[in-house]
Symmetry: C2
Subunit: 245 residues, 2 copies
């Protein structure tokens, strides 16, 4: 039995999310079915971040045990073959020690959120960005974002169905920068609450529009009440970009 | 009557190409139908480059005459509204003189071709790049590409169904560069033969793989025979990026 670390890219659009659900195709199901077609083993794949429906991944990390012996190159080629036509690609395959676990060994996670900030809607990037027509002040968003960095009770940015034991998380980085027509937000933490990144982005958008100040963001955080913060940004703009161990 | 210059972004995947055809939806049809819903005028839209099925545009230029009086902002907003759900966006709308013609006034065109050069297939970029697994030498491709720059008889790179009167074209720029996992080819000319860019890319790929030298490219050009050059690269990687006037 060999434990493997898989690094995955996927387009979240056709999926109900990472996790297996009865109401539609999931990334986990696509991957586990590809593994079955390769090894005839029925496995459960763990991952660093169980993304929601429509959320994408540039480098999701997953782990799985396989009894079938094969080289890393063979595992990668076979899984990419059997994953077709799903928009999921295995970027890297590495053998790891039996105590490695994609979720529980993970020391930190990073997300990218892309806002397409222009008058015209997204054509080529439809479903992969949040289209915001009105001009956003990325510098003001970045300044306000710093009010959220550090260890806080993030109840105001937590989805009602969040299963985390504690609302206290340590946000190590929340950066906002304009890149051409896009406003890009990068968030890093050991772990996040459910919808935390999308709720922070929806709140920072209010700052970018000039409707909120950095002080409003601080007050929303202090309220420890979801209704005190901004709306949840759409899934389409969110990308899981990195997990470190 | 006002003539308008439209700058368009579109995802070529759902379309049979720019031009109206009986066998499926075209960008031209989507745009003309959106115009009809806006002004109840039945118009014919001209464009700078009639892209093939699956070819994308970052900034296609089109022109059309409208009797309905409206500001440029109103025309843009109305067309973007009526174009939904097609993946076509009107990026800019400008009033132009009656003698402006998107196709016949065009002084030059530019295309980008994107090759995803990695072992894993495209997931997020599926349908928008050409996936080439084996390593490509972009520097060798760029050097060989310079053999095609200038005025030549491009019969070896011309589709059999090309309707151009002459196979002689002046290629002003053909540049190849690696950008991370991608090899990007930029081509500029006053005009191109049908499939010329895709046929040049398919030929340069042979050089990138080390199967052809720059001298092979020169010989293919001199042969003035389509069978002497490399295969046609897939439509998915091609983007119309610029038209100048």
């Amino acid at each position: 039995m060999q434990r493997w670390k898989l690094t995955l890219e996927y387009d979240g659009r056709p999926f109900v999310g990472w996790q297996r659900q009865d109401n539609g195709p999931s990334v986990q199901q696509a991957l586990e079915e590809a593994i079955y077609r390769f090894t005839q083993e029925t496995v459960t794949v763990s991952c660093a971040g169980r993304t929601d429906a429509g959320v994408h991944a540039l480098a999701m990390v997953a782990s799985v045990d396989l009894a079938r012996e094969a080289t890393a190159d063979k595992v990668q080629a076979a899984l990419n073959f059997h994953l077709r036509p799903h928009p999921v690609a295995v970027l890297r395959v590495e053998p790891v020690a039996p105590d490695f676990h994609a979720r529980f060994s993970c020391l930190g996670r990073a997300y990218l959120y892309r806002i397409l900030n222009r008058r015209a809607p997204a054509a080529l990037e439809a479903g992969r960005v949040w289209h915001v027509q009105g001009g956003l002040d990325a510098a003001a968003m970045h300044e306000a974002a710093q009010r959220l960095v550090g260890q806080h009770d993030f109840s105001s940015f937590r989805a009602s169905l969040c299963q985390a034991k504690s609302p206290v998380k340590t946000l190590s980085d929340l950066s906002v920068a304009r890149v051409g027509e896009e406003v890009r937000i990068v968030a890093r933490a050991r772990s996040f609450l459910h919808h935390q990144v999308r709720n922070m982005v929806g709140t920072l958008k209010l700052v970018g529009e000039g409707r909120w100040t950095a002080d409003n963001v601080s007050r929303a955080l202090a309220a420890r009440n979801r209704s005190a913060a901004g709306p949840t940004a759409p899934a389409a703009g969110l990308y899981f970009t990195e997990a470190w161990y």
